[in-house]
């Protein structure tokens, strides 16, 4: 399985670090990309990842109200809510995109979220975006 995770550097990336320092184990399917704030996630990043056939995209940010930049994650929440609907409509199971709120103190939640993501994806019946849907013509 292959999951790309975008983690904001203040909360969830630090949460992931805490999971590390606490030696909590979680599946190795996840690749973390550090971003300053969850609001840095361009929906096209997600679309691009999905279109390359990843099983899932995980986005993690500070809890609503706790954004290091005060409001960033509120925008993200709105965008991703709608993006999920669009994915669903276009034939990608919206479960493939998950957003978690993880604070810097929640190493446990980070590990738990990865496990949650993996087990959700394992349960899915449908396949991710085909690796090679070909070219037009």
């Amino acid at each position: 399985m292959e999951i790309v995770a975008f983690c904001c550097q203040w909360c969830s990336y630090a949460g992931a670090d805490l999971a590390g320092t606490s030696r909590l184990k979680y599946p190795a399917d996840i690749r973390i990309i550090k971003i300053p704030c969850s609001s840095r996630i361009n929906p096209t990043f997600i679309l691009k990842a999905l279109s390359k056939g990843v099983d899932g995209v995980m986005v993690a940010g500070c809890h609503p109200g706790d954004c290091h930049y005060a409001t960033g994650n509120y925008f993200t929440r709105r965008r991703l809510t709608i993006l999920k609907r669009l994915l669903e409509f276009s034939g990608i199971n919206p479960e493939r995109l998950q957003l978690y709120w993880i604070s810097a103190a929640e190493g446990g939640k980070f590990a738990e979220s990865v496990r949650d993501m993996v087990s959700r994806l394992e349960r899915l019946q449908d396949k991710p975006f085909p690796r090679n849907p070909g070219i037009s013509l």
Binding site: E2, V4, Q9, W10, Y13, A14, A16, D17, A19, G20, T21, R23, L24, K25, Y26, A28, R31, I32, I33, K34, I35, P36, C37, S39, R40, I41, N42, P43, F45, K48, A49, K52, G53, V54, C62, H63, D66, C67, H68, Y69, A70, T71, G72, F75, R79, S103, A105, A111
Partner: protein, 652 residues
């Protein structure tokens, strides 16, 4: 593009135990742009850094990737090293193969594969990193300290003594904070007022400290070195230039009210001075209760005041102040009554919290230092202290230790024993935490003291029966149920952040932790800095602590501010947004979403487009995403960099 080096760290066994370092090194070297790939036991060590430096010179690297621990550990280390190697520090990136790989995965193969990916991703990112250079801005060498507790005062004094002007904003009408309410203080048991008064006096007369009691911060704009604060000076309805503090008015004021200072143990008046040694030595009118202000009648004080200082027309004033740095020293409050209902707190008068007990114990307090219980003024013969009342309690949302309760409970019990030698004190505790110079000894003395009984366990209920307070508890050591019939119960209530701190934090654009305490920039390395540059934190607003620590932190922030003021300009982080002018359509969506107001308008070839004020920009990247055309991009996390990283993550 560039020649990249990859350095893989073993971190002793920390990484090498689970990750096949050799394989990672090999895989990295197969990247056409990686011209040097090697490993070392501890890259952060002196020889490790030397190795990197040598490689940079030998191979003429343009940038490098250190695959090691989390960037929050050592990014600074390796970026500084880059500078020393004549590489722009922003051309160094870390691949986190410890916290996010070797420590969390067990399967060697999986972990190795992941580490390879993480290195690939980071290499690809570095290929698109641009050298970045910090910007510099002018600096106003003036500081605003919010909160005039002992921490805030200490910071103010240090900075003022160093020659800079200080603006000390305090929401209460007097300075000194909670310490003014304490009786004697651990670990030396000297009287709080005695050690505090010289400080408050010094603050009051310091030529470079501008005290602003009874004031609150309304709004803060700007950025490090250039803040502009709007401060609300609340109306006291007394002209303080005239008031001499003679207190005639207080005596005659007919309206009795709850006294916050005395924690309700003694009544206050609508016109009052919190306590006789208050600094400033002035009275003020409580707007909510004053009869005249509410009903237009009374005005006794105005009639009696020999100085004609009463001014019912007074209005709140908004003053604007420019400062270069801000210290937040807003202190604490105690947990609300309603949360301690199981102890009968709020229900029974003789269940008091630690602060009330301090007042009872205080020689200037309601009972002039004689220990009496509030309900009937009797001297309690059996007294129960309950530690961790609210603290370390997940259900109450206060899983943290309030840190000072063990100490002050011991102090309070001992003081009780000094004053009521025939009394019996019981202390319920979970465990004793007495880290601090002389603290353990202090506790030890109280444990040894005859008549103080330490009971390990929790209290499940307190209720009144026949004029006694029945305390049900459990001794976890013996496993026995305990029942004590006490005259008085003292709760070592949890410390919580001062009321209103969250709003203040929002204004300052700093964050608070899950409990509302102000978040430091780094728990170990930047304990007195906030997330926003130029804003520092001291005292209990940051976390529970005792006086000594609060003072130390106050001085620490002062040293930070003085460091900042030692230069004539501030350097800003270069990871800010930037607009590609030709691509900007001028829709100004970015202006709307930027939480820091960092987007300005600019006229470019006859068209209004967006421009980033790099001093205000904090680099969140919201703008870069709302901008459909990608005309605005975040340096250090550009679309190009993130996509490169993303694509590498998906390489087969």
């Amino acid at each position: 593009m560039r020649k990249i080096g990859v350095f893989v760290c073993w971190c002793g066994l920390n990484i090498s135990r689970t990750v096949d370092i050799k394989k990672v090194v090999e895989e990295a070297s197969s990247h056409p742009q990686v011209v040097c790939s090697t490993d070392y036991k501890y890259l952060c060590s002196e020889p490790g850094q030397k190795l990197i430096k040598e490689m940079v010179q030998e191979k003429g690297l343009d940038g490098y990737v250190v695959a090691a621990c989390s960037p929050s550990m050592h990014e600074t280390t390796f970026r500084e090293l880059a500078s020393r190697c004549d590489i722009n520090p922003y051309l160094c990136e870390m691949a986190n193969i410890r916290e996010q790989c070797s420590w969390v995965h067990e399967d060697r193969e999986e972990a190795t594969e992941k580490a390879i990916k993480l290195v690939n991703m980071t290499v690809e990112k570095v290929l698109y990193n641009e050298p970045l250079y910090p910007d510099s801005f002018p600096l106003t060498k003036r500081v605003m300290v919010v909160g005039a507790g002992v921490a805030g005062m200490q910071a103010s004094l240090d900075i003022a003594d160093a020659g800079y002007e200080v603006l000390l904003v305090e929401k209460r009408p007097f300075i000194g904070g909670h310490m003014t309410q304490l009786s004697e203080t651990f670990p030396t048991l000297d009287c709080a007022q005695c050690i505090l008064t010289p400080k408050t006096a010094e603050v009051a007369r310091h030529p470079r400290i501008k005290m602003m009691p009874y004031s609150e911060v309304e709004e803060v704009k700007g950025y490090v070195g250039n803040f502009e604060a709007v401060i609300r000076r609340k109306a006291t309805f007394v002209d303080w230039d005239k008031c001499t503090g003679c207190a005639i008015c207080i005596e005659k004021c007919p309206k009795k009210i709850y006294s916050e200072f005395e924690c309700g143990l003694k009544e206050g008046k609508s016109i009052d001075m919190a306590f006789p040694q208050a600094v400033p030595f002035k009275v003020f009118i409580d707007k909510e209760s004053c009869i005249f202000l509410n009903r237009g009648k009374c005005g006794v004080c105005a009639k009696l005041c020999p100085e004609e200082a009463i001014d019912f027309q007074q209005q709140d004033q908004l003053v604007k102040e420019k400062v270069g740095a801000i210290i937040v020293a807003t202190g604490y409050d105690l947990i609300d009554k309603s949360e301690l209902a199981e102890y009968g707190y709020g229900k029974y008068k003789d269940v008091v919290d630690g602060m009330q007990y301090e007042r009872i114990n205080s020689s200037s307090g309601p009972f002039l230092g004689v220990i009496r219980r509030p309900s009937d003024g009797k001297i309690p013969k059996e007294i129960v202290f309950i530690q961790c009342a609210g603290s370390r309690d997940k259900e109450k949302g206060k899983p943290y230790c309030s840190k000072i309760c063990c100490m002050y409970t011991a102090k309070q019990a001992r003081l009780y024993k000094h004053k009521v030698p025939d009394g019996q004190a019981y202390i319920f505790y979970m465990d004793i935490r007495a880290g601090g110079k002389g603290y353990e000894e202090f506790i030890y003395r109280s444990v040894e003291e005859a008549g103080i009984l330490y009971l390990r366990g929790q209290v499940s209920r307190v209720f009144e029966e026949e004029g006694k307070l029945v305390v049900w508890g459990m001794d976890t050591l013996s496993g026995k149920k305990i029942e004590i019939n006490a005259d008085m119960v003292v709760l070592a209530s949890a410390m919580v952040p001062a009321n209103g701190v969250k709003e203040l934090a929002n204004k300052l654009k700093i964050s608070t932790d899950e409990h509302g305490f102000i978040q430091e920039a780094h728990p170990k390395l930047k304990p007195v800095e906030s997330m926003t540059r130029g804003v520092y934190l001291a005292g209990c607003g940051h976390a529970p602590k005792d006086i000594a620590e609060s003072v130390a932190q106050g001085s620490a922030t002062a040293s930070k501010v003085l460091t900042l003021f030692s230069r004539d300009s501030v350097m800003a982080e270069p990871t800010v947004s930037i607009v590609r002018k030709d691509e900007c359509s001028g829709c100004l969506s970015c202006e709307i979403v930027c939480p820091f107001g960092a987007i300005e308008k600019e006229d470019y070839r006859g068209k209004i487009i967006a421009k980033v004020n790099s001093a205000l920009c904090q680099g969140c990247g919201s703008c870069a995403v709302i901008c459909r055309s990608g005309a605005i991009d975040l340096r250090g996390y550009t679309n190009q960099q993130l996509i490169a990283e993303l694509e590498a993550a998906l390489w087969k």
